[in-house]
């Protein structure tokens, strides 16, 4: 299982925890450290640090006793539970932030299309009860929301294969190569970070791979048992892919309209350029896979290095333009820029040269929707593709 996130000691969180702890311990004399830590979702060390503070606490204003709580390292003993009046030890109402954090998360998880129906029902029931118990503290939770994306059917099959420990056959789309390949995988776990992924042992490449569920074109649960080797599970919270130091370097310069590249691609550096653009340096095991990015960027950016990448994008563009050959307004560009590079490109199998003439009046402005501040969010940018498929490609 994934390790617990390491949290710095935070006086607020610790106080919150200790207030619940006194209520909890009061009812359970001799509670085991191990059990209490698990119930509270904290490490035993964190619990022990709480147990160091609690004996310094009490309702001393009326000369009351400090809490006489100690531990023999295994169990926790409270020698004077009466030191805390019953009224001070009642479970406390939820704070607005607590209700928000729990309710928003619960509503988000309930939207996961592949969640087992029984679990979804349980979650919905629990959410309603927590809303009721939180009362007005639940109000602000509507100001935060999260949607997970995933393919329901694929999700359910992967989930079932994991719990039944069976191998999967998939047809998987790889955007970097624009191809669909078949492979057998032994699924290990499902991870939802924006999109939903299955981490698995790929039998074809004999390596760990991460597959994005919405790129699974077809899936079958096989009869063979799944037998992934024992591998250490990584913390995938920061990024699913961390570039390797030995990967070739790619340098791309983008104008203001291409700044989104820095949002979608993990990169080593992004330096501001005088025109409001960025010079971005990133690493990938397969620079050729970034041809898609070069094509998408168009006049919003250019590949500075490696040179072959820029050349291959240019060739692809020329080759593509050839299919629009009858178009007058490409004529001034295509022959001159393209002739040298196109040599050697196999353009067999092209559609005929005759295309429909372009109606240059047709280029209407953007529709007048409200909220243009997010304009420029790429539909499914090559960035995401490149980023996550690196893993699938062989990292």
């Amino acid at each position: 299982m994934a390790g617990k996130p390491v949290r710095p000691v935070n006086a607020i969180d610790q106080t919150r925890r200790m207030l619940s702890l006194v209520t909890y311990l009061r009812e359970r004399p001799g509670a085991r450290i191990e059990d209490v830590a698990r119930a509270f979702g904290i490490t035993e060390d964190e619990l022990v640090s709480d147990l160091d503070v609690l004996p310094m606490c009490g309702t001393s204003f009326r000369g009351g006793d400090l809490l006489d709580i100690d531990t023999d390292g295994e169990r926790i003993w409270w020698h004077n539970p009466a030191a805390l009046g019953a009224e001070a030890a009642e479970p406390l109402r939820l704070a607005a932030d607590e209700a928000t954090a729990l309710l928003v998360a619960a509503r988000a998880v309930a939207t996961l299309p592949g969640l087992r129906e029984g679990d979804r029902q349980a979650l919905l029931r629990a959410t309603a009860k927590v809303e009721a118990a939180a009362g007005e503290a639940a109000g602000a939770s509507s100001r935060l929301s999260v949607t997970f994306e995933s393919e329901g059917g694929v999700f359910a099959d992967v989930d079932r294969a994991i719990s039944e420990r069976r191998r999967l056959w998939i047809r998987y789309y790889s955007p970097a190569r624009d191809e669909v390949t078949e492979r057998e995988i032994d699924p290990i776990r499902l991870v939802s970070v924006g999109h939903t992924y299955v981490e698995a042992w790929c039998r074809r490449s004999e390596a760990r791979r991460t597959f994005r569920l919405d790129r699974v074109a077809e899936i079958k649960i096989l009869d063979e048992p799944s037998a992934p080797p024992e591998i250490e599970l990584r913390d995938l919270s920061e990024a699913l892919v961390q570039p390797a130091a030995e990967d070739p370097e790619v340098v791309v310069e983008v104008g203001p309209g291409g700044r989104w590249v820095a949002e979608y691609y993990p990169h080593d550096s992004a330096d501001e350029l005088p025109d409001g653009g960025l010079r971005i340096t990133l690493r990938t095991p397969d620079p050729a896979s970034l041809r898609r990015l070069a094509l998408r960027l168009g006049r919003d950016g250019r590949m500075v290095a490696p040179r072959e990448l820029a050349d291959s994008a240019r060739r692809a563009a020329c080759e593509a333009l050839a299919a629009y050959g009858g178009v007058t307004d490409t004529a001034d560009v295509a022959p001159r820029t393209c002739s040298a590079d196109v040599a050697g490109v196999d353009d067999g199998g092209h559609p005929g040269q005759g295309g429909d003439p372009v109606d240059s009046q047709g280029a209407a402005g953007s529709p007048g929707h409200a909220a243009p501040e997010v304009r420029g969010v790429p539909a499914e940018p090559g960035g995401l593709d490149g980023r996550y498929d690196r893993q699938e490609q062989g990292l």
């Binding site: 994934a2 996130p5 925890r17 001393s60 041809r291 898609r292």
Partner: protein, 325 residues
């Protein structure tokens, strides 16, 4: 050595919760060790009063953040007293079965943002203290599912608090294609995470209209502004629909393209019709929404746009830009 803050807060909370009558500031100051120590003996009375007062105010605010309802009561002789009434601080009865508990356990783990992760654990701990069933490992109960909500944007926490407290904010925002950021004055309504990115919806005071902002494009600090909202907050704030329409998810037209056999699986997956043309090509009808031109260009020579002419012109235009190098 200074007494740890958690110990001080805990003592203040227990005193206020255990009190049967309002406690004056002086009573609290004299009975909580940390305050006695902080008030010191060597310095002048005024200085120590000030430092105690500041500390006491901060501590009360912190406890209120934790959900404690602390009342301020003025007695007949004008002295202010504090107390945390039992009936306003008690969690109403709540009974959850083992399945419901396991489901909440899974939900409480999804936040990757420190403040919300802490708050979600705190909520679960309060429910645990109130008898929430244990012993079910949420991972066991939910197979191998590990949902995570990513929060990488620095602007998230200040905006979350501003949405919660309905406080106007000011920040510098760089639009997707703008060279320089611009200062925006916003009444923040709601935050939404879609496809792993956070967006803010709110009322833009400069433009006098609703706007949606992407958090990763906020540069610099988010600053709070005093006073309240000037525009009404809609009952339902829909961030996702707005973003989705700009991300091309909402297509109101259709396009006809030629696609090389075997290529462009995602285009095929979205196609409403596919016809085999022979000679290694297929013809597809696909939804035409915002951003389709940029997407089609990614497929290079494997895609030829047939119609509409407007899309065809956009694609040719983009290809020409790349061909020029």
């Amino acid at each position: 050595m200074a007494i740890a803050k958690a110990e001080r807060l805990m003592n203040l909370a227990l005193c206020l919760l255990g009190a049967r009558r309002p406690l004056s500031k002086r009573e609290l100051r004299d009975s909580i060790e940390a305050y006695v120590e902080a008030s010191g003996s060597g310095r002048g009375a005024t200085a120590s009063d000030d430092s105690f007062n500041r500390m006491f105010e901060r501590d009360k605010d912190d406890l209120r953040e934790l959900g404690l309802v602390i009342e301020t009561v003025e007695s007949l002789d004008g002295e202010v007293g504090y107390l945390a009434r039992r009936d306003s601080n008690r969690l109403p009865p709540i009974t959850l079965d083992a399945e419901e508990a396991a489901a909440l356990g899974l939900a409480a783990k999804v936040w990757q943002q420190a403040r919300l992760a802490g708050a979600a654990s705190g909520a679960l701990q309060k429910l645990r203290a109130a008898g929430l069933p244990e012993d079910v490992d949420p991972y066991e109960a939910h197979g191998a599912l590990e949902p995570r909500i990513p929060v990488h944007e620095a602007a998230f926490e200040p905006l979350m608090l501003a949405c919660r407290d309905r406080r106007p904010v000011v920040f510098d925002y760089r639009k997707a294609s703008a060279a320089h950021p611009e200062t925006r004055h916003v009444e923040p309504w709601a935050l939404e995470c879609w496809r792993g990115h956070w967006y803010l919806a709110g009322f833009d005071r400069d433009r006098g209209a609703e706007r949606v902002f992407r958090l990763s494009r906020i540069t610099g600090r988010v600053r709070s502004r005093g006073a309240g909202f000037t525009a009404p907050v809609p009952d339902v704030v829909t961030v996702r629909e707005t973003v989705a329409s700009w991300a091309g998810e909402i297509a109101d037209r259709s396009a006809r393209i030629r696609l090389r056999s075997g290529a462009g699986y995602p285009l095929r997956a979205k196609a409403t019709a596919v016809r085999e043309l022979g000679g290694g090509w297929d013809e597809l009808d696909i939804p035409y929404g915002h951003g389709l031109d940029a997407w089609l260009v990614e497929f290079g020579p494997d895609v030829v746009v047939l119609e509409p002419a407007e899309l065809r012109a956009d694609v040719v235009d983009r290809l020409r830009a790349v061909a020029k190098g």
